[in-house]
Symmetry: C2
């Protein structure tokens, strides 16, 4: 993409209203714009990152055997009356009346609707296990939305729902999502730690939050440092196999949010030098809640004995919008964002130091075409801004690689590449740069 034709509204000044670094950087780099309290538009470069995060989440859900569908944003209140949650949910639920005065709502989550879909079609244990997920915009009418997309009212959520014949099957489904989440966050460059947690308004008796450590986190967390170095399950993990050894290893180390924290256990189980007490950001939450919804909503299946029983369910959430902010919290420096390769909005930022100079334009155009032909997504700064401003822009938007081309270097037969994360710069021939960046 040529910057002269793109829409990348970089702000010169740091927005003062933003309290945390991810919010500031997202506003400054033109990733998002607030349209109402807690409601954001995702501008082009922000949307690219969001879609990449979403795609990593999707790939790992699919790998674990979950199947994607898409439920609507607007739901009928009647559905929520079946589970009893319509009255319980409180003011966070955005309630709506349509033109015929039917009570509707903007879905804050989808347990009821997915249970309705399940019971409409599935009758037999032979169709289980089943895990259905969607990635859809949700709305929770927070009293005080803040921190940008970290705690917004309209947000994107991946929510998966598992269906099993019994608790043992449900546990296996839970383990698959547990492992999928470990892989998902690792691919996003995050060290996320599963922690025992309160199950919250969704209910149930088994629940883990996945938390990344960050100074700006909203919750206080306590864990064993060993968790930061545990190996992540590999890409070829067999999700049909028994995953409990992996899950058990992760759960063998102490990790808890403040609600579940037990100081005496923490001190007894974790050697002093391995005790981490820090702030954390919740990036995922998994629940097993048995028959909480299937019983009142009569989602029953026939077992091998022909007897019908309520299906056992779990739900598994990740917020891609919040994740974008969390990644920035975990990966930035004074000059701006440092995107992990997996979610960077572009792979390479190509800087033309003298736009309008025929030799430089030709060299840049050639590199741009060749990198794109090799499948790289390139942001080409072909504008007539001065060099300093171009460097600052590339640094703040945080593309993994910069390729810097100017008449002086070209006269010596060289261009420069810069790795954003380390700041290392190398002068080398255009061919070598291409081999490095397109390889």
């Amino acid at each position: 993409m040529r910057l002269s034709r793109y829409f990348l509204p970089i702000l010169k000044e740091t927005p003062k209203e933003a309290e945390i670094v991810s919010h500031r950087l997202m506003l400054r780099t033109g990733m998002i714009r607030q349209e109402a309290a807690g409601i954001y538009a995702w501008l082009p470069i922000g949307l690219k990152v969001l879609r990449k995060v979403e795609q990593v989440v999707r790939e790992e859900q699919n790998r674990a055997g979950a199947i994607e569908l898409l439920m609507p944003t607007i739901q009928s209140a009647d559905l929520w009356r079946e589970s009893g949650r319509y009255d319980d949910y409180g003011k966070e639920m955005l309630r709506i009346q349509d033109r015929h005065e039917r009570e509707m709502l903007f879905g804050p989550t989808n347990e009821e609707m997915i249970t309705e879909i399940f019971r409409a079609y599935v009758r037999s244990y032979r169709d289980l296990p089943l895990n259905l997920y969607h990635i859809q915009w949700k709305f929770r009418d927070e009293v005080r939305p803040r921190f940008g997309v970290m705690r917004s009212r309209e947000f994107l959520m991946k929510d998966a729902y598992s269906f099993d014949l019994d608790q043992e099957g449900a546990r296996a489904s839970y383990n698959r999502m547990f492992v999928a989440y470990l892989r998902t966050f690792a691919r996003l460059g995050l060290k996320a730690i599963p922690m025992v947690a309160e199950s919250g308004p969704i209910g149930g008796d088994m629940s883990h939050e996945f938390i990344i450590l960050a100074r700006t986190g909203e919750s206080e967390v306590f864990c064993d440092k060993a968790l930061l170095d545990l190996p992540i399950p590999a890409e070829d993990t067999d999700f049909d196999s028994d995953l409990s050894p992996i899950v058990s290893e992760w759960l063998s180390f102490y990790a808890a949010t403040d609600e579940k924290h037990e100081p005496t256990r923490f001190e007894a189980e974790v050697p002093a030098e391995r005790r981490i007490s820090a702030r954390g950001i919740e990036v995922g939450h998994i629940f097993y809640f048995g028959t909480k919804y299937s019983e009142p909503m009569k989602a029953v299946i026939a077992g091998p004995d022909g007897v019908e029983r309520p299906v056992h369910m779990g739900s598994y959430g990740i917020g891609p919008t919040r994740l974008v902010a969390a990644i920035i919290e975990a990966s930035h420096d004074e000059a701006g964002i440092v995107w992990p390769d997996s979610v960077a909005p572009f792979d390479v930022g190509l800087i033309n130091l003298k736009a309008g100079d025929p030799m430089t334009d030709t060299a840049c155009g050639d590199l741009y075409d060749k990198l794109r032909a090799a499948g790289r997504d390139v942001l080409y700064d072909d504008t007539d801004e001065r060099a300093g401003a171009k460097f600052a822009t590339m640094d703040v938007i945080g593309l993994p690689w910069q390729l810097i081309v100017g008449p002086k270097g070209l006269a010596e037969g060289t261009v420069e590449i810069k790795r954003r994360a380390t700041g290392e710069r190398h002068a080398l021939s255009a061919e070598s740069a291409l081999a490095r960046l397109a390889g």
Copy 2:
């Protein structure tokens, strides 16, 4: 995808409530499920088609130079008060009060919001032309939603908005979208005809609807048969060049919806044997509306003379959810849907005629792996259903190719391939079948 692990709830009976064939077939093949009046969940096979349609739309928008962003579904009423449309829009707008009793709405379209975004960042003619689009769920509270996703309340829309210094520039932007639309619909296997149309509640003085001919269409249309054979602009069309010759050619033939129809002109301009009078489905709508929003909302830009003036705008809509239904209306037979290759939920349906038979299972497993390795998306019916039911399922869901494998054929060294659109079947070796389907 192995069918035994997928979620494909085929209905045995044809739903009676559905009035048109696309609605019936979408319900029968488990593409969608109604969750409330005019509100649908997209089940896995439906979502796959929807995403493919969306991706074709996106690729052609990008090719034409439009830039993707994503605006939220919930908007502030204040924004719509700026344009004066909050009171005008009527009952189709879903109005909402949040917990602080602020007036909000579920966006039925985004002219106001995109104008707000534009005016926040763009000041100079040097940043023009600019075309920003998003693909987002919209809500219009139709009195009587019907025909499934053809006229639903919650629906997906691609809406693009162009910004230009003056009417001449806006005309060029309009032409780029005109050509992009011709390409988009052609890639979806549709013959869409641009027709002069009323501009509707969005207003403006130049507007075309893109309409496909179908018996179940809601509007009556009149056009010259020559339009059905006009060449579609090629993939390498230069969108920086003057596209008016292409647009003029399309507009040189008579085409109008009933609101704009002029019978005397129709008879004078079109020879009797080329007169088409038929029913049509609107699948796209493009508008030029000048400064209708930029003036009241003060979205001004400085021209080369330094003088500020309201920016000229157009908007360009396509409904991917409706398009899915329109494609089915245009492409089905008595056995079910016949998907064009470009949007089929899977490329190949692999039918194992004797699941459980070791030789057949091995042959199928091998073909399945090899087709997937070649990048084909395969639905593998590995269930123990009887052959007749398997054939009927593959026919009704309409995958472009079927690959049929049974013990009898294997003993003779053959498998069968079937082209869904023509019904042609060929027996050939597994290697030849692979070469044909993976090539």
